[in-house]
Symmetry: C2
Subunit: 163 residues, 2 copies
Amino acid sequence: MEDVLRSLGFLCLGSRLKRIGEQLQADTQRLLDCLDVPVQSSQYPLLAALDRLGPLPVGELAQSLGITQPGVTRSVSLLADLGLVEVTQSDGDQRRRMVSLTKSGQGLVDVAKRDVWPRIEGAVADLCRDLSGPLLDQLAAIEDGLATAPLDRRVRMSKGAAQ
Amino acid sequence: MEDVLRSLGFLCLGSRLKRIGEQLQADTQRLLDCLDVPVQSSQYPLLAALDRLGPLPVGELAQSLGITQPGVTRSVSLLADLGLVEVTQSDGDQRRRMVSLTKSGQGLVDVAKRDVWPRIEGAVADLCRDLSGPLLDQLAAIEDGLATAPLDRRVRMSKGAAQ
DNA sequence: CCTAGTTATATAACATGTTATGATTTAACG
DNA sequence: CGTTAAATCATAACATGTTATATAACTAGG
């Protein structure tokens, strides 16, 4: 069965990037399921942003993640319900709501940074190893690579390779 | 403001691909708004698949697009409401529902193939021209390129370059 | 100081992907 | 042949992005 998105090349590049991204996130999710925290893989960038940049108001958080403000507002509500972030009023400007990691959230990030993120990064790096040439060729190689060995198999492989 | 997804590199590659894909689709949507048909840019791959491969049952359509069957079912309902595709019972197997382009749908595809898709492809090709090197570098170049000149500006540029 | 505009956030409505599951049809096998 | 398994599609529930708009707080100009 012909892969139409691949055949159409540049014409459907947007759809294709989204499709690959979704598959990567789904694969990553399976890796994260070893953690006991009910956080989707797509929420980690927000936690990582707070870890890297410290407490931020909603708007700047959106800017640093490259998504729109309503998306951040919803994710923040979700993560606040889980007790991973908290929202406080800004000192000066009553409109701004500062988002920061809670102790629990910082703990999750610390564990992830130590135990989980390096493995994910290693697995994706393994997937992208030896990629070169035009973008469409590299994308095809990623799709083929994921079909051959999903990320969770590459974690072990890259661990083995690192030993 | 630091772009966290970019800083995190391979770790958030999935989120980043999705983000770039969404931006490309949004840019493409603006290009398509010149057409009078109320079809989102994300529906064109389905129409293109039917044009390339002919009538297909729902499941094979999903396979050829690399998305899941419920996604296809919904898009097909939507496009059928617009009169662009039609669903007929398969001859042999009563479970299969064949999806095909209507006259109106085929007409839209024909116009798009002649007048619109070449421009989109040209604009994206312009965006991706001169890309080389590691994947993450190419992605960064695409993001920078879109920020500098969105696709709708590249349509004119690539038309001009073609003259 | 009050009003008009701007800014920051929240909310609603929608788009479009997913997984899980149900219903119907087909196939297979004892 | 009848029961059970498999295949196909629809539907429900959810995830997470978007745009459009409402609300509240700040700022500036008369």
